[in-house]
C-alpha cells in the first residue's frame, strides 16, 4: 500500500506538486494522466524518493519513507521503476542488465540470479537476445528488458514513467502487452501515461493532475465519460 499525504515539491521557486494526497492499495493499478508539465512524473519519482518531496509524507506499507532516517536503498528494493528512456546499462548484455541488481544488491548467487533472469527475459519474449547489447535492440525490446530488469528485484510495486512515449508507434503494443501480463499477476502498479485507451482498459483508477494539483480521481469509466472538472474536460477534449 502506498499512501501520499500532502506531497508538495518545489524546484527553486517553481512549485511542481501542490499538496497531492492519495492512497494506492495493494494490487491496484493506477494510471496518472494530465498535460505535460502537470507534475505526473515528479509525483511518480517522489514515490521511490528519486525526488525528495519538499513537504508531505509518503508511506509504503507501514513505513514513512519520507522520514529522513529512512534508508532510501532499502525502500527502492521494494519498488521497481521503468523509465521513458529505458536507461539500460549500455556496457552490459541483456542478461547482465537483468542479473546485475539481484547479484549486487540482493547478493543472490550467480546461478540463481541467472535462472530467474532467464525466466523473466523469456516472459517478455526476448530469449533470443540474452547475450545482445542494448545498442542492438529496438526501443520496444529495450523497454521490455527494462521491465524484466525491474522485476528481477521482485518488487512489491512497479512504477512506470511514460514507458511508451519514446517508442515508435509500432512498438507500443509489445510493451503494453507485457504490462498487461503484469497487471494480471496482481502487481501494484502506478503508470504515468499518455495512452488513454490503455489507461481505460487496465487501470482500476485514474489520477488526473494539472498544474501540480490532483484535480480528479476516479474509476476510468466515470472519468472518461463524465469528467467532473473543467480542466479534465478540456484535456480529454484535446486528446480524444
Amino acid at each position: 500500500m502506498i499512501k501520499a499525504a500532502g506531497i508538495t515539491k518545489n524546484f527553486g521557486k517553481n512549485s511542481v506538486l501542490k499538496n497531492v494526497s492519495t492512497t494506492i492499495n495493494r494490487g491496484e493499478v493506477v494510471a496518472v494522466i494530465g498535460p505535460s508539465g502537470s507534475g505526473k512524473s515528479t509525483f511518480l519519482r517522489c514515490l521511490n524518493l528519486l525526488e525528495q518531496p519538499t513537504s508531505g509524507e509518503i508511506w509504503i506499507n507501514d513505513q514513512a519513507i519520507t522520514d529522513r532516517k529512512t534508508n532510501k536503498l532499502e525502500v527502492r528494493k521494494q519498488i521497481g521503476m521503468v523509465f521513458q528512456h529505458f536507461h539500460l546499462f549500455p556496457h552490459m548484455t541483456v542478461l547482465e542488465n537483468v542479473t546485475y541488481a539481484p547479484k549486487k544488491v540482493k547478493k543472490m548467487k550467480s546461478i540463481d540470479a541467472e535462472a530467474k533472469a532467464k525466466g523473466l527475459i523469456a516472459k517478455v519474449g526476448l530469449s533470443d537476445k540474452m547475450n545482445t547489447y542494448p545498442s542492438r535492440l529496438s526501443g520496444g525490446q529495450k523497454q521490455r528488458v527494462a521491465i524484466a530488469r525491474a522485476l528481477a528485484m521482485e518488487p512489491e510495486i512497479m512504477l512506470f514513467d511514460e514507458p511508451t512515449s519514446a517508442l515508435d508507434p509500432e512498438m507500443v503494443k509489445e510493451v503494453l502487452d507485457v504490462m498487461k501480463d503484469l497487471v494480471d499477476t496482481g502487481m501494484t502498479m502506478v503508470i504515468v501515461t499518455h495512452e488513454m485507451n490503455f489507461a481505460r482498459e487496465v487501470a482500476d483508477r485514474i489520477l488526473f493532475l494539472d498544474d501540480g494539483k490532483l484535480m480528479e480521481e476516479g474509476d476510468p469509466g466515470t472519468f472518461f465519460s463524465q469528467p467532473k472538472t473543467d480542466r479534465a474536460k478540456d484535456f480529454l477534449a484535446k486528446i480524444l
Binding site: G80, F83, H87, M153
Partner: protein, 219 residues
Amino acid sequence: MNLDFSQLVPYIPFILEGIWATLKLAGISIIIGFILGTLLALCKITKLPLLKGFADAYTSMFRGTPLILQLMIIYFAIPQLTGYDISAFLSAVLAFGLNSAAYVSEIIRAGILAVDRGQTEAAEALGVPYKQMMINIILPQALKNILPALMNEFITLTKESAIVSVISYMDLMRRAQIVGSELYRNFEPLLFAGLIYWVMVFILTQIGRLIERRLRHSD
C-alpha cells in the same frame, strides 16, 4: 655534416638500460596518477564542500605551477625540511604521480559528467549503493569515453618524464646526455634516445587503440 654512429655503439647497452628506468618511472607514476585522479574526480562531483574544495585546490596548485618546480621542491626541499634523504626515483614518482593526478582528475570528472544522468537514476531505482554504482555502472562508461584523452595524458607523461634528468635520475634522457659528454658528440646519442622515446610512445598508442577497440564491443 658528419654523423658517426659507430662511436655510439659501445654505449648502446648503457643507454638502453635507461628504457627500464623510464618505463618504471612512467608506469608507476601513471598508476598513482590514475588512482589518485579517480579519487579526486569523485571528490569534485560530491556535494560535500570540504572534499570538493580540497580537490579543486589540489588541481589548481598542481596545474598552476611548473612540473619541474614541483620535482625540484620534492627532491631538494624535502631533505632540507625533514632531514629525510629522498631518492631521485621516489621524488620523480611522487612529482609525476601527484601532478598527473590533477590532470587525470579533470579528465575523469568530465567523463563522469558526460554519462547520462538516467544511468544514475536507473541504478538508484534498483537500490544499488553509491560505491557499486560508480564502480560497475558509471566509471566503466566514463572511461570508455575518455580513453583517448587519458592515453594522451599517459603519453605526455612518458615523454615528459625526461625532465627527471635534472635531479640526476638515470633515465633514458640522462644516459643519453652522459654519453654525449663522454663522446663530445651530442647529436647521435640524443637522436638515438629520441628514437627510443618515439618507439615507446608508438607502442603505448597501439595498446590504447587495442583497449579502445575492446571497450567498443558493446556498440
